[in-house]
């Protein structure tokens, strides 16, 4: 085991893919956004000049080119920087990449990865703060990974790169500065559809992915001091979703708080809530509570931004509310 920054683990996993498979090409430059860590990424670019494509500002064009390249023998990992720019490339992602395998009757494969930096990064305002996972989840044909730790990003990238399906890799710039242990084995992989219990607890189940895992763990720490033990479940991939681990936890706790950075209406939290109320109906002793970004575009002004996003305080309050509510 080694201790690494998330940003370092991310680049190391990309470097490993470049080193082990010549078909892996990177398209787009901003895997690490405009953070200070981008210099690590620049070194990777310098080491593989022929396999890093610097595209024009033409998302629908270069993303489509990446999909076409995947059909013809490459295994591209294509970066769209801020997830809001996904919409420029939307028809290529949801109409083409997601459907091609199915439409071909299972003959054609689209082995590629779409990388997005999602969520509220601070000052991104309405056009640079999007969380795309709910819309992508409503799109059959895409795999969706949303790692939260250096170990998970490395293990999931290995799986995504080996997958013959188009995978959406939803990242968060606020994770880049976090650190954690990473296995020495660079081939270590984490299978899709296997959730991780990030913290054990018997009183309430807290579902969270990506950056929200960090906040959920902070909240769990605060709550623990009050005597409330929260179990934090990180699905790691939304598609496929490990429903069983969530249901097992809810069977134990009887209570659920779903934390997610997407907007509330038709967001990830709605689907998780619906799945649990359908499948764990007899286990629930209180109605699940959603903690999400409000149904408004993201405002620029810092206090307004914090008012609409899912904060640690809001998670704490939701857990208190769900544990206070009467059985029934």
């Amino acid at each position: 085991m080694r201790e690494m920054l998330y940003a370092e683990a991310l680049v190391e996993s990309l470097r490993h893919q470049m080193a082990t498979d010549e078909r892996v090409h990177l398209m787009g430059l901003y895997f690490l956004g405009l953070t200070k860590h981008r210099a690590i990424m620049a070194r990777l670019h310098a080491d593989y000049p022929g396999r890093v494509y610097h595209p024009p500002i033409a998302e629908v064009g270069y993303v489509g080119v990446a999909i076409g390249a995947a059909l013809a023998g490459l295994r591209p990992i294509v970066d769209m920087a801020t997830a809001s720019f996904m919409f420029q490339a939307f028809p290529q992602i949801v109409n083409e990449a997601a459907n091609i395998h199915y439409m071909s009757g299972g003959a054609t494969k689209v082995p590629m990865v779409f990388h997005f930096n999602h969520g509220i990064r601070g000052g991104g305002a309405a056009q640079h703060s999007h969380s795309p996972q709910a819309m992508l989840w409503n799109t059959p044909g895409l795999e969706i990974m949303a790692p939260s730790t250096p170990r998970d990003v490395m293990g999931l990238v290995n799986t995504a790169a080996a997958s013959d399906n188009p995978t959406a890799w939803v990242d968060h710039v606020r994770l880049f500065d976090t650190s954690g242990p990473v296995p020495d084995d660079k081939d270590f992989s984490i299978p899709f559809g296997v959730a991780d219990v990030k913290r054990q607890g018997g009183d309430v189940t807290v579902f969270a992915s990506s950056w929200m895992v960090v906040r959920a763990l902070e909240a769990a720490e605060t709550l623990s001091a009050e005597g409330i033990q929260a179990e934090v479940i990180d699905p790691r991939t939304l598609s496929p979703l490990d429903e069983e681990t969530i249901l097992e936890s809810v069977a134990k706790t009887g209570r659920l708080v779903v934390v997610d950075e997407c907007h509330r209406r038709c967001g990830v939290a709605a689907e998780i809530t619906a799945v649990v109320t359908e499948r764990a109906f007899g286990d629930l002793v209180a109605a699940p509570i959603r903690v999400t970004t409000a149904d408004v575009p993201i405002p620029f002004s810092p206090p307004l931004e914090q008012h609409v996003e899912p904060t640690t305080d809001k998670i704490v309050a939701a857990v208190r509310a769900v544990t206070d509510s009467a059985a029934g």
Binding site: L34, R38, A39, A42, H45, A46, H54, P55, P56, I57, A58, E59, V60, G61, S84, F85, Q88, G122, G123, G124, A125, A126, Q127, H128, A294, D295, V296, P297, P299, F300, S301, P302, P303, L304, E305, Q306, H307, V308
Partner: protein, 339 residues
């Protein structure tokens, strides 16, 4: 060259250019201390935006990009309200909802700013469409950099503008000259197989003009031609204004690499420092315009300095106003989603 205008109009152009320059310099200092999000400055392009937008009349509209400050200021938007917006304050142009990327000013003809590259081209085309269908004698200006031509929306938009003969002017500010390309941590320059960029518009049979974007008079004339054509029912025009990328805009985050602008460089070449000497001596459109006004006898160095002091004072007051302003009440975060 200087435009063929009375002296008061000529000095008004200079005042507006100075407002932009001092605003952006002030912002770079401010951004060192306060979180303003990713921002972009208009330094080096004042001699394009000011004379170009001066050709518009009240009711005409412009749609700009992430590099929007200069355009808003050129048409007279209050710097104090812009600083306040950039700091996310209640007194900002958008009451803190937009920030630097989305500044709007209806009274100055900027309904919104799209920060998605290529996002503004259909919007500007649509405003021209509205003017044409409503029978209003108004024009719409689409302001964008060379990068926006990489997006498909431009090609779709100019096709429709040409087919419908819409009163829209596509003003492409090509600031990629001497941009340092794809070097790490530098902004990439545009990635276009087409050259010159006017060839793109010509393919749609849209009249084109190429101008030196640091030549105030040339920009004035080009834009006057385009606006006249649009208002006269002659349809769209594509203008490419060429400027050199300001050295401070080459890194991803703007830096005051050339120092605060010293107007004396315009009349005293010996004052120009060795660092970035070519920029000060040849590439800065603002200093070029000061030189032209001096040689035409429109202005003296003392008058220029006095005007600059007034502008600096206004900018300082604007910064103070923004810093002293309150943040909006948090409940407003949930308002204005719907009309």
């Amino acid at each position: 060259m200087i435009p063929d205008l009375p002296a008061d109009r000529l000095t008004d152009y200079l005042r507006r250019m100075l407002v932009i320059r001092r605003f952006e310099e002030g912002l770079i200092e401010l951004a060192g201390e306060y979180a303003v999000g990713h921002f972009h400055v208009y330094i080096g392009q004042e001699a394009t935006g000011v004379p170009a937008l001066a050709q518009l009349e009240p009711g005409d509209v412009g749609f700009t990009t992430h590099r929007n400050h200069g355009h808003l200021l050129a048409r007279g938007t209050d710097p104090a309200a812009m600083f306040a917006e950039i700091l996310g304050k209640e007194t900002g142009t958008n009451r803190g909802k937009g920030g630097t990327l989305h500044i709007a000013s209806l009274e100055n003809g900027f309904p919104t700013t799209s920060a998605a590259t290529g996002g503004c081209t259909p919007l500007a085309t649509g405003a021209a469409f509205a003017f044409s269908r409503l029978g209003r004698d108004r024009v719409s200006v689409c302001l964008f950099g060379d990068g926006a031509l990489e997006e498909g929306t431009f090609h779709e938009s100019i096709n429709i503008a040409a087919l419908e003969s819409l009163p829209v002017i596509y003003l492409c500010e090509n600031n990629s000259l001497e941009a340092l390309g794809q070097k790490a941590n530098e902004y990439p320059s545009s990635t276009m197989a087409a050259a010159p960029l006017t060839d793109l518009a010509a393919a749609f049979k849209v009249p084109t003009i190429t101008v030196d974007g640091t030549d105030t008079g040339a920009v004035h004339d080009a834009m006057a031609t385009a606006v006249g054509r649009a208002r006269g029912g002659g349809g769209p025009t594509f203008i490419e204004a060429l400027t050199v990328r300001w050295p401070g805009s080459r890194p991803i985050w703007p830096q005051l690499l050339t120092g605060p602008t010293d107007l004396s460089y315009a009349w005293d070449p010996s004052a120009i420092p060795a660092d970035y000497a070519v920029w000060h001596a040849e590439q800065d459109g603002l200093l070029r315009y000061v030189r032209e006004l001096l040689s035409a006898g429109v202005l003296t160095p003392d008058e220029a300095l006095a005007m600059d002091e007034q502008v600096k004072d206004r900018i300082e007051r604007g910064v103070r106003f923004a810093l002293d302003s309150p943040y909006p009440p948090v409940a407003s975060a949930l308002e204005s989603v719907y009309a």
